[in-house]
Symmetry: C2
Subunit: 509 residues, 2 copies
């Protein structure tokens, strides 16, 4: 059927209709999209030459003022020109994770093609909730859930899994499921019915979202039992056994034991097989936050780190960390597929179709806190299909090896101290030259914090910080950027020396 | 500094390093991005000509098999060619929300340029959590929070707001805040301390995520009090007053009263000003799910629908609904900015910087369930800056007027029945010709469900369904697509007649 413009004009005033059409004009979309491609290429080429800062540092008030100013568009502005200005503005104000000297948080320099596949989903607004709204998004997600789960060692047909917006939401959803399975009718009747106070048993270095989950789910953050760590900051399995024994004696319900693979401070992997043995013995739900480490399943060299993960009742893995896809794309897995419908127990008649009950198995909204969910797996799907899943093993092996090299460089230097031997791509260390031999641990920690702040605001590098078990500051590098080369790491150490020496001299004056 | 390839080669075997470089090659990124632009233009042009189906319908098993097959890439495949094949595959299997005959869920045909700005964020992996990780993403979000809040009538400097992944998560977060404010130390000590059972008072047509929130937060889904509706399916304020009076008498804690602007079944807007009066009188937290209706603040013609929204203690608005940006981009607002830090009460030392405490005001992770969050507002920022915020009023006015026209067409026809007069862009109706005069309401409802299924699987149109207050099925159209023209609506009614007649004839045989 041809467009019937005369009819539409009767619906709204001419000017509104014309403007609305212009926002959706296919030729404009096309020319902007092509121009964006050119701008992205220029941007990535510039970064690959190490031009410009890593982080474009500006104070929040200054950036907010600029953002407010940028919103003041004039009608009649030249759209393609304005588009280009705005894209350049975003580049000039954003963070350059693809700069080889970005060695910061557990957020990767993502594989650029993954972002392009995500763009297919964004521009055409592919979503999920019920199968019919996102048939391909649902299929792609299911295929990737199966791929990753079997790579980890789960048996086809026995497990369930889905994707949600981030590791914190993933942990919350899995722990909600555990709560409902363990505590029975708490979903319906709530906590206020005089039931015994349950606890959550967690790795002492667990990500803060685990404690938040206890607060959200009505367990209470004070009802967390933290399992002490061994000398490598891994969960102490002997201590776990003692805690579970004590809780058993006092008949305290245990919602779950939460292990880490790995914990964020130094990237320590808990001994999952041993923890699984203890959880089985006590009949307790085992959950693993494998946000960072789950990807090692794709590496022949490193998958031993997560041995036992397949025995957990639930676990989560972030594709937007060590699978190098853009945020957010977090996977939740249940070993026993029967648990997938324990999270929630409702339906919305307008949404879940009583005339097509067979579709419920494919209605993702039954599994996730999100109702409408964007097609978060287009990026991971696209690069798996483009390069093969061996891509992920390459990226793991490459960045883990580079971290090992950094560890060697630090160990060889007499003015640096490492806080651990790296198990993955996280390395924590301090600049601690002879000049500060008499400083307290706290003073040395503060020096390192100052070094970091000076460096990140200069844009020369981006790295992060952490504290040791006693609260003293330390530098933290996470090598999630395959463009980083050994030369960059050597330059990083030299630059830290330079900034550190200057700060020490100023402090002494 | 120039790249130091010889050093990197000592880190990993040659082949891995070479492959890793190829995944990030700027020239490849650029050529793929430009090609994507061309493919998107072709795709949108095809849709604008109404070519091809709206929904590419395939059974789940078939789509999953195709997805699994697509993952089998061969190393050495021609990357640009393979990329194009995969993008075309996604187009051919996905849902075409930009087809003028998509008149379905409350998920819009998004403004394409918004998707392109989102692509800037995806390809360069812009994220937030702490300010320094997403300085521009944080600034843009803050500017948009302020713009929308003031448009709704909140006073600058008095409120707080942020963006999260979807309306369900937004409602959950706001209700978590309400719970913590109302119940005191439940965050820390949990529910198990013998406190009285609290309730949540909700609009009877509230979205299912509200009941889920009660289940998640430990209140319990059975402890929801549903306020009856008036004849227009709006919250009955007299009934609300009676319920609150009764709860006051029994000293039952009320976490919140949850109103809707609008509720999803027929798009009914609650009388917010009257509800605010009652909530103030009883000193109860008022929350409004304005996921769909919050955008009317940008329309001079329609903002009266949400009068009183600015008096709620908390409310949520989805930009990915009636602001026509791609999913997910949901806003949470607190009238009293002091409430923003009541949601959670923790910090992660490696994340939130004790050496820069002033930054906490700009660390979004303190406000959201997400830790790492993608830069979800790039799309909304970009189109606001490109076209001016008047864009949103245009889109609202245009689609609401089109819905009014549909209502007229349905009212003029003697074989259709409308279930309500539209307040926004949602219209529920039934095909009910003389031939079914003797059928029961349930039979007519089922006929309409069958009509819908036949139509959506044919790809001719995509529309949804709902049930009336008695559970009988009905057709539901949501005009979230500015490409839809009156001619499409006339064709929709004719097509329903054709499919319906055929189904009736088959049923009679």
């Amino acid at each position: 059927m041809s467009a019937d413009h005369s009819n539409v004009d009767s619906v709204s005033p001419q000017s509104v209709t014309d403007r609305v059409r212009s926002y959706f004009d296919p030729a404009t979309v096309g020319s902007l999209a092509v121009r964006l491609g050119e701008l992205l290429q220029n941007h990535f080429e510039k970064l690959s030459r190490r031009e410009g800062p890593v982080l474009n540092w500006n104070l929040p008030e200054s950036n907010i003022a600029a953002a407010v100013e940028s919103l003041k568009s004039e009608r009649g502005d030249d759209v393609p020109q304005r588009f280009e200005q705005l894209v350049q503005l975003a580049f000039s104000k954003g963070h350059n994770l693809h700069h080889p000297r970005y060695v910061g948080h557990q957020v990767p320099a993502s594989v650029p093609a993954a972002g392009l596949f995500d763009a297919v989903a964004s521009v055409t607004n592919q979503v999920m909730a019920i199968y019919e709204m996102g048939p391909w998004a649902t299929a792609v997600e299911r295929a990737l859930v199966n791929m990753w789960a079997t790579q980890i060692g789960l048996k086809p047909g026995t497990f369930a899994g889905f994707v949600t917006n981030g590791g914190s939401l993933a942990n919350l959803t899995a722990l909600l499921t555990a709560r409902n399975v363990v505590l029975g009718d708490v979903w319906e009747s709530g906590f206020g019915a005089g039931r015994p106070q349950p606890v959550l048993v967690v790795q002492s270095d667990a990500h803060y979202c685990v404690a938040r989950s206890a607060g959200i789910l009505g367990i209470g953050t004070e009802n967390i039992r933290r399992v002490p760590l061994d000398e490598r900051r891994r969960m102490d399995v002997g201590a776990l056994r003692e805690i579970l024994e004590e809780l058993k004696q006092s008949q305290t319900p245990v919602v779950a034991v939460v292990a880490a693979a790995c914990a964020t401070p130094i990237g320590a992997f808990d001994p999952l097989d041993e923890i699984a043995d203890v959880c089985e013995e006590f009949g307790v739900w085992m959950h693993v936050d494998a946000a960072h480490g789950g990807a090692t399943a794709f590496s022949d060299q490193h998958r031993h780190l997560i041995s036992g993960l397949e025995r957990a009742d639930s676990f989560i893995c972030d594709a937007h960390k060590t699978l190098f896809v853009p945020a957010l794309c977090a996977f939740v897995f249940y070993r026993n597929r029967e648990h997938r419908f324990e999270t929630f127990r409702q339906e919305a008649s307008y949404l879940f179709d009583p005339s097509a009950p067979g579709m419920a198995e494919y209605d993702g909204g039954l599994l996730t806190i999100e109702c409408t969910k964007h097609a978060a797996t287009y990026g991971m799907w696209g690069i798996t299909a483009l390069y093969g899943k061996e891509l992920f093993g390459d990226l793991i092996d490459h960045t883990f090896a580079l971290t090992r090299r950094l560890y060697q460089l630090l160990s060889e230097a007499d003015d640096f101290v490492t806080l651990h031997e790296p198990q993955c791509n996280i390395q924590v260390f301090r600049y601690q030259p002879a000049a500060v031999a008499n400083w307290s641990a706290e003073q040395v920690g503060n020096l390192n914090r100052q070094i970091r702040r000076t460096i990140i605001e200069s844009g020369e590098f981006y790295l992060v910080q952490t504290t040791d078990a006693n609260g003293a500051g330390a530098l933290r590098v996470c090598l999630m950027n395959p463009m980083t080369e050994e030369g960059d790491l050597r330059h990083l150490l030299d630059h830290i020396r330079k900034v550190g020496t200057s700060l020490i001299n100023n402090a002494s004056m």
